[in-house]
Symmetry: C2
Subunit: 235 residues, 2 copies
DNA sequence: CCGCACTACGTACGGTGTACGTAACTACGA
DNA sequence: TCGTAGTTACGTACACCGTACGTAGTGCGG
């Protein structure tokens, strides 16, 4: 009997090893690593219970002994990649520390492009997420602000990071799984956009795109947005 | 022969009615409305080609005459709900105008809670999206800034709106589709959180949550974040 | 040492997106 | 005017998904 819970359960509250029965063949870290490997290699949508089980070398339904619902697998994946963070001693300059942390997060999301799709306050309490939050708070130790204000700052920084990286990834990967090339895709979309602008219904966009500032500097856009958020909390 | 395209296609570039053949039984607006009805009533994940076709009263595969891929259905849905926007004459106070627009967007997303999940720059060029963008630019007509700066402002405002509403919705709907009550879910999660904090590994979070400021004022959090972004562009 | 809680896993069900084939229909080119 | 090409309509079929359920084997707690 598998024993699906009739009551909510946080996977982290579950012991990895139960008292009775044979010792589990895999650890949570094994499972998370397998799922991350698949997501990195074949894309997030390729992560299925069957494929993860195959990657581990076990039967599909055996996975459900470790992971009661697929959502919990996602939680394991997020926690696993959050283990990549390095948390150096806070420097005393909280702005610099948060910028460094945001850059770490951005780099991690570019390594694991599926992460922004999972980001949600629902998955906020995995062990590594708690470590991350505690460290971020430690960077703000010298700041004279209420706890709530600090949390709002952290939420805004995290929001900017995931939003911007999600956009960067979306534009970069849009054509990856499509049966045509990136140039073709881009040509089709800008071609349509040009045809719309040419109707004269969007004069301001027409004027704007007429300037043609060349390719967008994604790093610059990201850093400007990040610093704007930090500035808005710096009094 | 259905004729799936071998080359990228923007659905908006496709004429609604082709020259030959029987007249289509439905308009794009009909299809979008049906999909929106399902998503509103049963949740985004309930939107399937079969259900939309059933809602319209036609065979499943007939839908593919109108919508080559499911992604295009999403695009139709986003455009449909974007038609709800009202675009009053800009007041001359661009901050107030953008705040009003952000509140409209937030209200719309609360009416259609699946919208944040679809928000992506990939779906940026539907007719109503272009109208929205052009109107927002018109609110910034008096502002002395380059086109690129204005676009960055708009992107940040949109990002804040979707991020914050997505969070509001996620926390509100988390337990809706689960087989247990919201109280049970909340109890399980906070119970685990408390147990973790009690380990002493997270002193700053422990101190913060000890204050217990009562329920979170979501409207206030949203407005503060929005105004911070606007402030950061106001020199 | 018994019994039970656990692990392992095959089968099966109801769902998904969509490729493909066929039949009916209509507007255009000759 | 008429044939035909291109469109609409739609049933069938395939590969895949999450996961409920049943069964068999395993090893610790009482």
């Amino acid at each position: 009997m598998v024993g699906r819970p009739a009551v909510p359960e946080v996977i982290w509250a579950r012991p990895e090893r139960a008292g009775r029965g044979p010792r589990p063949a895999f650890s949570r870290a094994d499972i998370a690593a397998a799922a991350v490997r698949i997501a990195d290699a074949e894309g997030f949508d390729a992560v299925s219970m069957r494929k993860v089980a195959a990657e581990l070398g076990c039967g599909t339904m055996s996975l459900y002994n470790y992971v009661p619902r697929k959502e919990d697998l996602y939680e394991l994946m997020l926690d696993a990649v959050s283990g990549d963070y390095e948390f150096p001693e806070p420097s005393g300059d909280w702005r610099a520390d948060l910028v460094a942390l945001a850059h770490q997060a951005r780099a991690m999301m570019h390594r694991h492009t599926w992460v922004p799709r999972l980001m949600s306050p629902v998955y906020g309490f995995s062990p590594n997420a708690l470590r991350y939050l505690e460290y971020t708070l430690s960077c703000l130790d010298g700041v004279d602000a209420r706890f709530g204000e600090k949390m709002e700052l952290i939420a805004m920084v995290n929001g900017v990071v995931t939003t911007y990286v999600a956009n960067e990834i979306a534009t970069a990967e849009r054509s990856r799984s499509l049966p045509w090339s990136e140039e073709q895709e881009h040509a089709a979309r800008t071609g349509y956009l040009i045809s719309q602008i040419a109707t004269g219904k969007y004069p301001r966009m027409a004027a704007g795109f007429a300037e043609d500032p060349g390719p967008i500097d994604l790093d610059g856009v990201f850093d400007r947005a990040l610093h704007r958020v930090l500035d808005s909390f710096d009094r």
